[in-house]
Symmetry: C2
Subunit: 417 residues, 2 copies
């Protein structure tokens, strides 16, 4: 069955690849309209998913992410309309020249072809991903979490009706309907038809894809992010940035998980940190050197376990480690970081420069919060995923990451000498 | 053992990442000098490899590729000096701006880190690959074919001595010395240290890497290339290009393997094709429609097997298939191509445009030979590999393909709102 889906997606992708931006935008606008007009079928399916999830004892937070309402659906439709406004990267000439041989060569952006997306519970990802893939002329095969499979199925049916109305192949957007997990493994081997795989979920899903997939995968999304407070940093400004990076939205991957404090300032800085963290409800996990200094402050503190330095908290918890200056900070980040987002807070330009050059992360910051790592914040218009690997795309991925290029050579009946 | 190599390579990569272009070029110049000065140790090791290969009954062509001489070694050293002249992509700012939030954001090219290269018999690849990786600030772990393992070992020793002389870590270039095949599988799982894997070899090696590797892989190199002769094409010019694409160097991946001839002109075109192919020593493999027309000509012809349309000949053999115009040609290429290089020979601008847009290959040509797909011909200065996948790099890969980028954000004590 997956073989058939792959074949159909590939066929659809040939059709999509030659559409103009106007044609693609027209289809997107229709999808947005249909999502609003046909909301009933989607909301009904969603109610069944929510009911089932409640019976299965899903957490309240998960249930909330799962649930759709008319106004949420309108929000999703409006997001699709936003995608129309983005610049279409397809067709752009990256570079070109007439070579010594006489060959007139250019490199032009083209769609990838077929994109596979595996994601977890949130139903808005279905629409979001489909819209971004269509905008860039790609067909997409979606595999959502089993908790939302009725919602996804209903949503994709609406999208397909809009596609047909727009004169495009319905197979441009397909969803794997069965919640059977074996189909994920099968999808990972569909390299004959699928050009790129994007897992959107936890570390386990990324690991599965990296290990099992024969399709090129974009992995990422795991962020053990660090902030290093350098010697002589302004304490008030440092605390402001730390509070933002830890508490603005603790469940996101760009949230700071470990604070590195240079040894020179630790005695003075850590008590003030404890005070502020107490005020914003953050619990601390301290290294042996930080522990006695933090124990006197009001914020709850426990000794940090080595393994906790390698994991995301995704909660109001913060590791605190005292390091020997910049070298110690860089060393720590190399050992424990996930190459997502790391920041230095400093007044020393030489240190800022070294940090930026020597810390090998997707995003490095000087005197700014790690929370900025985000497609919207970076002005990419949309975020397909956040990559923490180094090939193809790194950090927040915009529309360009859904394209590749082809070399086009024109000759006047030209042969190679 | 591989774990230790990986760790050492990663450490070396941190050192390499912050070198200036001048420092890297100095090291490359020293490597070139040392290869010439210490040629004896390399040539001796090579003699033993050649001797062994002869005993193992390797073909004459293979032996020739294996063998080094003083002058070949000088050629290799000069190739390293050429790499000094290439522009270093590292440090280049791709784009940047001050965002609404006040964040001063730029995207800068940085080395990948550690590159793994698995290749077959040719000893020049050892030096070539090491030079390109060093130039881009990457450490490299090399795994050459077992036929050249003594040569490679001696060569890497010389390179390491030059690195040390230049004040760089010797671990920047390491070779897996044991010919044990299990080490390849182990290398494929070293994702903790190796950032990108480049297989340089046959289809089997690429398949192994795609299936087994947990490291992002660049696969490619397999070229079932097509030339489509459109209706009304000038016969003499068409034959000139076909001869070049088939006979200039038949063993390369950009050689044409299948000629598609539009049905309208087949009766007139095919006898002339047979005549010319006969003159240049090419054997033909014809589809049922082409067979009777070619059977009257002087070139040897047999019926083509379906499976032969999906494989490289890499010899003076050419498939000939009659197709129903441009649509038939595009259909055939989609079914049998490997997305390497495909050409249309035409006088019809509309057809040229459709071919370029609808054929989804790394390189598409209008009235030019498929032989142009090559880093040197494309003006890239060097060729790391030819990718036929769509992620990261497509077609001939130059130095830029050995880099990634990082996002660098400067703030004036900036938090996200």
């Amino acid at each position: 069955m997956l073989e058939e889906m792959g074949k159909a997606a590939k066929r659809a992708s040939y059709h999509l690849a030659v559409l103009s931006s106007a044609q693609k935008n027209q289809a997107l606008a229709l999808i947005a309209d249909y999502l609003e007009q046909d909301s009933e079928s989607i909301l009904q399916a969603n109610q069944m998913d929510v009911q089932q999830a409640r019976e299965n004892g899903l957490s309240k937070a998960m249930l909330d992410r799962l649930q759709l309402t008319q106004s949420r659906l309108e929000g999703i439709a409006n997001d699709v309309r936003q995608v129309c406004n983005l610049t279409d990267p397809v067709g752009k000439v990256i570079d070109g020249s007439v070579l010594d041989s006489g060959l007139n060569l250019e490199r032009r952006r083209v769609p990838l072809g077929v994109v596979g997306v595996i994601y977890e519970a949130r139903p808005n990802v279905t629409v979001d991903t489909a819209a971004l893939c269509l905008k860039t002329g790609n067909a997409v095969i979606l595999r959502g979490g089993k908790e939302t499979h009725r919602t996804n199925q209903a949503t994709v049916k609406v999208i397909q009706r809009a596609l047909e109305k727009a004169g495009l192949p319905a197979d441009a957007v397909q969803a794997i309907e069965s919640p059977d997990r074996a189909l994920v493994t099968e999808l990972l081997k569909l390299d004959r038809y699928v050009d790129m795989l994007i897992p959107r979920g936890g570390a386990g899903l990324h690991k599965l894809c990296r290990e099992q997939s024969t399709i090129p995968v974009i992995t990422g999304g795991i962020g053990v992010c660090h902030i290093y407070v350098d010697q002589g940093m302004d304490v008030e400004q440092a605390l402001k940035i730390i509070v933002n990076a830890k508490t603005q939205r603790p469940s996101t991957c760009n949230t700071v998980e470990t604070l590195l404090v240079n040894a020179q300032d630790a005695t003075q800085f850590l008590p003030q940190l404890s005070q502020r963290m107490h005020e914003v409800g953050v619990s601390l996990h301290a290294c042996p050197r930080a522990l006695p200094l933090l124990s006197q402050g009001p914020a709850p503190v426990t000794p940090v376990q080595e393994s906790e330095l390698d994991d995301e908290w995704l909660s109001l918890d913060l590791n605190v480690v005292v390091v020997e200056g910049l070298d110690g900070a860089i060393e720590h980040i190399r050992e424990h970081g996930t190459q997502h987002s790391d920041a230095i807070l400093t007044r020393n330009m030489h240190h800022a420069d070294r940090f930026v050059r020597e810390v090998d992360s997707s995003a490095v910051y000087v005197n700014a919060s790690t929370r900025f790592t985000d497609g919207g914040q970076f002005g990419l218009g949309a975020e397909v995923a956040v990559s923490t690997q180094k090939l193809h795309a790194r950090g927040p991925m915009g529309l360009e990451a859904l394209t590749t290029y082809k070399w086009i050579g024109y000759g006047d009946d030209l042969v190679r000498r």
